[in-house]
Subunit: 198 residues, 2 copies
């Protein structure tokens, strides 16, 4: 290849990022070279700073600057209600709706035996130790309605129910504003199965 | 927003990259936080190193580690034939075919009056000064067959022809292995217009 070595190395590093293929990596590397030193150093600094200053909340495992995150420190949030999500971005998705007033627990992944992700790779131990205090009365399993999400929810339900805590799962059904015509069959079947009386 | 500040800043910097929207930026930031310090520092180092060690070849303007790139330094390459491309990645695309034995000139963009990109933003001055020596006999305008690519080629042709140099453009037509059925009309019309005698 005719790429200069530092360029090839940069492309190689960028290709490791999720969702970045060889073409995008080349495009990004090329873009970075065309930016001013100041712009590139802003990016580099933000990566270094985020990596240095951020940790995972000792309680809910969400991304946090301090030992405990603002949600866990917020006394107004219901401690009896715990919403379990796979990733921080799922937490932010729920927060954006401004409806849920309980607390969270971030698993940092979903069970995936095919890729060797067992319960020990998720923050399950931390979840169990949070339940020990007896404050939590209901755990909402808010993992994605995918094979891995369902398997993880099923696994956690089996684990948590014997502890005497109420375990619930997000409802499946038609998205608000969705059209029957465009819904996939699995969603439609779910919407029919869990139909509500009016 | 509930994002910790260093996280929000990192997302903001990543969003500036081409082709990276808010969702991808969050995903990338999240991914970086989950990587080891070593992996993140490999990425950061490669960015800094590329930015520090790479420059643009003083002759063809391609990405280079030295003042002149390996292609310009290669005495075996035909100095009378100059292929003008918009970006380095176009140069690499042509090099991958292992057929072209001339030299290149990278414009670093295409004319785009709507976005304020005039000839002074491209490496046109450098192209003109390369022609002064009289070594170059033919300039192949290998810009993309798009509105901007065609406009740039047209502009350069007008500029170069009075200098007594032969100016050519990449052929348009059916891609090798393509099916008429799937070709767009503009390509088909071009293939008919520039048909060759057999």
């Amino acid at each position: 290849m005719l790429f200069a070595k530092p360029f090839a190395e940069l492309v190689g590093e960028l290709e490791k990022l999720p969702g970045i293929g060889p073409k995008s990596a080349q495009r990004l590397a090329y873009y970075l070279l065309q930016q001013s030193d100041g712009q590139v150093s802003a990016l580099v600094t933000s990566i270094i700073k985020a990596k240095k200053d951020l940790r995972f909340c000792s309680s809910c495992q969400n991304i946090s600057e301090a030992d405990q995150c603002p949600i866990c420190l917020d006394g107004a949030r219901d401690q009896s209600l715990l919403c379990v999500v796979a990733e921080s971005r799922d937490l932010y998705a729920i927060e954006r709706a401004h409806e849920f007033k309980g607390r969270y627990h971030v698993l940092h992944g979903l069970l995936n035996p095919m890729e060797g992700v067992g319960p020990e790779r998720l923050r399950v131990k931390e979840l169990l130790s949070r339940l020990e205090s007896g404050m939590v009365q209901e755990v909402i399993l808010a993992t994605n309605p995918t094979i891995e999400g369902d398997a993880t929810a099923m696994y956690l339900a089996k684990l948590l129910k014997p502890l005497g805590v109420k375990v619930t799962r997000l409802a499946h059904g038609m998205p608000i504003g969705g059209e029957l015509d465009y819904a996939d069959s699995a969603t439609l079947m779910s919407a029919i199965e869990y139909r509500r009386e009016m």
